[in-house]
């Protein structure tokens, strides 16, 4: 028995070779993608840690009065997911600034513990000479050291708020440029300022990134007013890879399906060719299950050797690809990571899957009675069970019905999804009866223009079609994945573009990045930025938080508004900001729907609302709107103040806020004088001269080095979009690679198919030649057969792509009328080429074969 397997294996080298190649290709992709993904993950994690420091949260206060006590620190340490903390103490953060002699800029004092996590902070990393201070030591910033001609080891007198001076030894130099900083040993500083156990801020390292949200919540619960830097920027960067994973896995699965389908057809083909041999085995006493086992053995042999080849090739190629990929993705180069368990598991899964797939042809061939196998000269067409035909029709019809029904009501996104999937399944089940219809249709169309001998091709194609059905499905799969993937990627890109242009009405945003009722930039900082050359800047002031007092419950859209009970009726939370609407309007025009935006009107307790605000809350032009400061989120001290403003204008939109932001805009006079809000949350700006952009970015980043601005972030639309485009391109490449691979599978299968079917029909083609068919003519006939099959498959793929694509987009985006037409047309134009290529080599050898030999050899 085993011997027989080997004999078959060797006897059909070419065919087996194809099958192994197909499996190996799939496995190579599987292996490469796992290895590269693991390596990329490692590299990007490393890159992120290098760039941002290896800590996950920054927790603390920004005022001297607020602090964490020793017991507070212990509480945070006790949270199970907290691995490590590094405490810092700022004794004079917002009061009693301390000046050294000869320096006009005040010194910022920081107490720091000498622990490894502390060194992850950007500021500490800047101690480029010397070391962290011990008790009695200090680290000073470079400019002051230079100015005073100080060196490490020198002793200096340092002033403290209590007017005492202390003598300390310099232990290191902090390389910062335009700020003055003095670093001390934490415990020493606490003692010296008589604030034992106090810390202002700490870095937190977590055991597991996934617990971030949970830890934040626990800290918030215990310290409601604490500020937490979630380091969203880092998460965003991680997301890049995180988002890549499902894409890669999804494509891997489709590739595996493609290769399994290829395997099935190749096995089927080789079984068909060996029918007589297999029948002989049966006649000589081989049992059905022996035959079955024979085929399974071969399948295991093929899939295992293919997988091993794939493993070798995949690991090898990964080593080759890794460096260029890392460079391309701008990641640090790390040694390759081979996730062996994952790879071996997926290889085993792949082998199992492919072997299972081969059960189908194995079972079929073992069921054929021996005599039938002998008699069957012509390949029998596998009659599909009529049940499947009806099921497929049912799927398609119900899908179309669902969609039409959905269109007639308020469309449900889920229904679109279901309908799209139903249609796709239906078509795949229907391939074996739709494909012949399509081939007929296409040849009928072409009969109008082509020479009459092509009738032969169409008929031959129809006769041989049952062999190519699965391969046409593989091609369809490639087309569908390609098109649908492409349209989803396009959709994401469009959305991103739209979103970004809403978030960025101007090119740059300088975000103070402070929390709700925490002061942003001072007006001085704003002025210093706005007066840089080629600047067009607008401030977005911090907002005041108010609850409405006279909301008319009958006019509102309840489901879109969060309401809370107050004074026996329901009210909602709104924000009030001061803004120079007139100037903004001149630069960034928005629609004034009704009323006016004049400063003079706003100053007299006037307020402008947005269209959405009016729609949601029911307030109209001319209405008075009564407000009361929110107790928890209010600015400054004292009891909450009340005010009633009159709506003087309605605009759409306010350029610096999302549409659904419940925003009241008034003059800064009111917000400043009455509510004491004079800081700026965000600075929006454009640089009018593009050559000046680099310089201005540099200058602003320089300013941000000031520790009081350490949280502020400068972002730009171009940069954000660029990041997205980078990801988009990666995904596009991946998609392209997967689609090409699946298309290659169908090509390999068709090539194998044609080779075998032409071999069977070589006498037929020799007759054509003998009867006066020219070489080119016969070649054309054979190529046309391939073209017909893949064009039909391509056409079907196009239909499904358009239908499924539109439905998936509808499921994401609500409207159905977004059809991926262009991509589909490309695929339709491309699919004949696959048939052409697949048939070319076998066709060429057929027409160049000796006519006389092929005529005399028995056609069977």
């Amino acid at each position: 028995m085993r011997q027989l397997v080997w004999r078959f294996f060797y006897g059909y080298k070419k065919r087996t070779g194809f099958a192994i190649l197909g499996v190996a290709l799939a496995m190579i992709i599987l292996v490469i993608s796992q290895i590269l993904l693991a390596t990329l993950e490692q590299a990007s994690e490393l890159g992120i840690k290098q760039k941002y420091g290896n800590y996950d949260l920054m927790v603390g206060y920004q005022k001297t009065k607020q602090f964490l006590s020793e017991s507070d620190i212990a509480k945070i340490k006790r949270i199970p997911q907290v691995k490590e903390i590094a405490p810092f103490y700022y004794p004079y953060i917002d009061e009693n600034p301390i000046f050294f002699d000869g320096s006009p800029i005040p010194f910022i004092y920081i107490g720091v513990n000498n622990n490894p996590l502390a060194k992850e902070m950007d500021l500490i990393k800047r101690i480029k000479q010397g070391q962290l201070p011990r008790a009695g030591e200090v680290v000073l910033s470079l400019p002051y050291m230079k100015k005073k001609g100080l060196r490490i080891g020198d002793s200096v007198k340092i002033p403290f708020a209590s007017q005492k001076k202390k003598r300390l030894t310099i232990s290191g130099i902090l390389h910062v440029t335009d700020v003055n900083i003095a670093l001390f040993d934490l415990a020493w500083l606490q003692e010296t300022t008589a604030k034992q156990g106090r810390i202002t801020m700490m870095l937190v390292q977590l055991t597991d990134l996934k617990s971030k949200a949970a830890v934040i919540e626990q800290i918030r619960n215990q310290f409601p007013r604490i500020h937490i830097d979630k380091r969203d920027l880092i998460d965003k960067e991680r997301e890049n890879l995180g988002g890549l994973k499902p894409v890669v896995y999804g494509l891997n699965v489709t590739i595996l399906i493609g290769s399994a389908l290829l395997m099935i057809t190749i096995l089927q083909m080789s079984l068909h060719e060996r029918k007589k041999e297999l029948a002989t085995i049966r006649l000589l006493g081989g049992k059905k299950n022996q035959l079955f086992r024979l085929v399974i053995h071969e399948a295991i042999l093929v899939s295992t050797s293919g997988s091993l080849l794939g493993l070798g090739g995949g690991v090898g190629l990964s080593f080759l690809l890794q460096q260029s990929l890392m460079k391309w993705m701008a990641l640090p180069i790390v040694p390759i990571v081979i996730p062996w368990t994952l790879i071996l598991l997926s290889l085993m899964g792949g082998i199992l899957f492919i072997t299972l797939a081969s059960l189908i042809p194995a079972y079929r061939s073992s069921q054929v009675p021996p005599m039938v196998a002998f008699r069957q000269a012509a390949p029998q067409s596998q009659k599909q069970k009529p049940v499947i035909k009806w099921v497929s029709l049912l799927c398609i019809i119900s899908s179309v019905t669902l969609t039409i029904w959905n269109l007639m009501r308020t469309p449900s996104q889920t229904i679109y999804l279901v309908s799209g999937l139903l249609f796709t399944i239906g078509v795949f089940l229907a391939v074996s009866w739709i494909l012949p219809l399509l081939v007929r249709g296409i040849s009928w169309v072409f009969q109008l223009v082509q020479s009459s001998d092509r009738i032969l091709s169409s008929r031959n194609t129809l006769r041989q079609l049952h062999r190519s059905t699965q391969l046409a499905s593989v091609l369809m799969l490639a087309i569908i994945i390609g098109n649908v993937g492409l349209s989803i990627l396009y959709l994401l890109k469009d959305e991103q573009e739209k979103q970004l242009s809403e978030i960025y009405p101007m090119e740059y945003i300088l975000d103070a990045n402070t929390s709700h009722s925490e002061a942003g930039f001072s007006e001085q900082i704003y002025d210093s930025i706005a007066k840089l050359p080629h600047m067009k800047a607008f401030p977005l002031y911090n907002r005041g938080h108010f609850s409405t007092q006279n909301l008319d419950i009958k006019k509102i859209k309840k489901e879109k508004l969060s309401l809370f009970p107050e004074n026996g009726s329901y009210q909602t939370l709104v924000s009030l900001i001061g803004s120079d609407l007139e100037t903004i309007y001149k630069q960034l025009p928005f629609r004034i729907i009704s009323g006016q935006i004049n400063s003079s009107a706003l100053k007299q307790n006037g307020v402008v609302i947005t269209k959405t605000f009016s729609e949601l809350t029911g307030y109209k032009l001319g209405d008075p709107i009564a407000l009361k400061e929110d107790t928890q989120l209010k600015w400054g001290d004292g009891p909450p103040k009340r005010i009633t403003l009159k709506i003087v204008g309605i605009i759409d939109p306010y350029p610096f806020a999302p549409k659904d932001d419940l925003l009241l805009i008034t003059h800064t006079d009111i917000t400043k004088k009455i509510f004491g809000i004079s800081t700026i949350d965000k600075i929006y700006f454009d640089v009018t001269k593009s050559s000046a952009k680099k310089e201005i970015e540099k200058q602003i980043n320089q300013k941000l080095k000031d520790p009081s601005l350490s949280k502020a972030i400068l972002t730009s639309r171009t940069e954000e979009f660029g990041k997205f485009i980078e990801q988009y391109k990666q995904r596009l490449w991946l998609l392209g690679a997967a689609v090409s691979l699946i298309a290659l599978f169908s090509l390999l299968g068709l090539l194998n198919n044609t080779a075998s079917s032409l071999q069977e029909r070589r006498a037929e083609f020799a007759v054509l030649r003998a009867l006066g068919g020219k070489r080119r003519q016969v070649l054309r006939l054979i190529l046309w057969e391939g073209i017909l099959v893949t064009t039909a498959g391509g056409f079907l793929g196009m239909i499904v792509s358009i239908f499924l694509g539109a439905h998936l987009i509808a499921a994401l985006d609500k409207t159905l009328w977004d059809f991926p037409i262009t991509g589909s047309l490309y695929c339709l134009a491309f699919s004949p080429i696959i048939g052409l290529i697949a048939n070319f080599i076998p066709a060429f050898s057929t027409v160049n074969g000796k006519i006389s030999r092929n005529l005399t050899t028995d056609a069977e």
């Binding site: 009459s452 054509l768 006389s852």
Partner: protein
């Protein structure tokens, strides 16, 4: 009389070195307009090889084939193809009909390959099929016909372009003797009427007896040649049987 086809010391060897096989040796043969030549010989004596050389399907190792005085080796592949298409008709032992084409379409195939399709051609195909006695099967597929019916279609196919020469390789080889006789009579009558030449390979003396002339091949050589004087197939057949016995070697 004009020779439609003439060979000049034709030799054909297959293979190389120790595998070399001399399939045809120094063949001198002319077939004249309207003549019916039967080619007899044991299996493997080179009969099919000879027909392939005559039609240009294969090239001789040395020697020449002249068709209407034109040397075949001077023609390129495309010209040879056209020659076969327009001037030569083929009939094979296993019929070699195209399975996906109906009887009528099979008959018009050579014309179809020439790019000709018109109503007249279809009419002509119908007439030929009628003449072969299977007019009612015009729309049938080969798989729906018996061997004899298929061979009649094949004969009609060989005649559609009014070829000068018809080459038939054991056309009755897969048919029973009654069907063979019917088919042969039709073929002979048709060729005689239209002045087509016919070269037919057979190892059946009863079939060869219909010919004007018989040649015997043995080990690639023409070993015997006879022109019948009698028109009586029965007499010719018994004569041929004696010759076969004399030459020795069982035929088939």
């Amino acid at each position: 009389m004009n020779a439609v086809i003439q060979t000049i010391s034709l030799n054909k060897t297959y293979g190389k070195g120790i595998n070399q096989f001399h399939a045809l040796k120094d063949i001198q043969l002319s077939i004249y307009e309207g003549e019916f030549v039967a080619i007899m010989g044991t299996s493997g004596s080179g009969k099919s090889t000879l027909l392939h050389l005559l039609s240009g399907l294969d090239q001789p190792t040395t020697g020449e084939v002249l068709f209407n005085g034109k040397a075949l080796h001077r023609l390129n592949d495309s010209q040879l193809t056209e020659l076969r298409r327009d001037q030569i008709g083929f009939i094979f032992q296993f019929f070699h009909l195209i399975p996906v084409l109906s009887a009528e379409e099979n008959v018009t195939l050579p014309a179809m390959l020439a790019g000709k399709t018109n109503q007249q051609l279809t009419v002509k195909a119908r007439q030929l099929l009628q003449f072969m006695g299977i007019g009612q099967l015009a729309k049938s597929l080969p798989s729906q016909m018996s061997g004899g019916q298929q061979q009649r279609v094949a004969i009609a196919r060989s005649l559609i372009n009014d070829p000068k020469l018809i080459l038939a390789d054991e056309p009755t080889g897969s048919l029973d003797s009654k069907t063979s006789k019917e088919i042969l009579t039709i073929l002979q009558r048709f060729c005689a009427e239209r002045n087509h030449s016919l070269a037919m390979v057979t190892h059946d003396p009863h079939v060869a007896a219909y010919a004007d002339r018989v040649i015997f091949l043995q080990d690639g050589r023409i070993v015997y040649e006879h022109t019948f004087t009698s028109d009586h197939p029965q007499a010719n057949a018994s004569f041929l049987m004696k010759v076969v016995e004399e030459i020795g070697g069982s035929i088939s």
